[in-house]
């Protein structure tokens, strides 16, 4: 099966709905479409925030995400995968990133979307900085995200760097 894959790292906003619709348009082999949209919240740990700023490692971010999209395509029967991740300053209410996965059946679409999200949270080289009342703070990584990502690791040491 050939999957239509799209990976974009960009400063500007995107239209999650249009991107998702692009995966299924004109096709009749897709039965299930799962999308995840990550949105900038207006508060972090109870304190209002003014904005998030995302720093990324250009070149590596694309490569890492493309590698994980390829792995998702190898693991599940997918017909299309789209990952878009922004960097730069993002205001509350704006979309930060999205993942969309299309398949003939729902299990593959859900699994691939969750797999990609768990990996993006822990392995894609992006760092969030929070702007609160003039001060800035780097967001701390969550142990829960690491354990979520670990559930996808397969026994045979396929990731020698780990």
């Amino acid at each position: 099966m050939t999957a239509a894959t799209t990976v974009r790292i960009q400063r500007e906003g995107f239209d999650a709905a249009a991107e998702a619709a692009r995966l299924t348009r004109g096709r009749t082999d897709i039965g299930a479409l799962v999308t995840f949209t990550g949105i900038c919240r207006g508060a972090e740990a109870g304190e209002p925030i003014e904005a998030l700023t995302l720093e990324h490692y250009p070149g590596m971010a694309e490569a890492e995400i493309e590698r994980h999209v390829a792995e998702a395509v190898a693991r599940w029967p997918l017909m299309g995968v789209t990952v878009i991740h922004r960097y730069g300053r993002i205001a509350p209410g704006e979309d930060i990133m999205m993942v969309a996965a299309a398949s003939s059946h729902r299990e593959a679409a859900f699994s691939a979307a969750e797999f990609l999200m768990d990996y993006l949270k822990t392995r894609a080289p992006f760092w969030k900085q929070v702007e609160k009342a003039g001060a800035t703070d780097w967001v701390e990584a969550k142990a829960a995200d690491d354990s979520a990502a670990e559930r996808w690791v397969r026994p045979a040491g396929r990731d020698a760097a780990e």
């Binding site: 490569a63 991740h85 999200m117 760092w127 969030k128 995200d145």
Partner: protein
């Protein structure tokens, strides 16, 4: 051996620059040894690498561990745990 180092997020802020080219002295074999050597280069480096266990690294844009040999790396990056998504 001349290698480009890149720093991100608070590692970059503490060191005070996003990248630099360094001559790695002989005897530095692994990424972990490189961190120890960098930490000795001044206060800002010592601060950045004060807890090397939590610093992540990439060689030529691929994640590596502290015990990974530097080998023929052209670019090594150091950064905090990632918080994208």
């Amino acid at each position: 051996m001349s290698i480009t180092l890149r720093y991100f997020a608070w590692v970059r802020e503490r060191i005070g620059k996003p990248d630099e080219v360094v001559d790695v002295p002989p005897g530095i074999g692994t990424v972990g040894e490189l961190m120890t050597w960098l930490a000795s280069r001044g206060e800002e480096y010592a601060h950045a690498f004060e807890n090397p266990k939590i610093i992540r690294a990439a060689i030529d844009r691929t994640h590596v561990k502290a015990h990974t040999p530097i080998g023929t790396a052209r670019e090594i990056a150091f950064f905090p745990p990632m918080t994208g998504g």
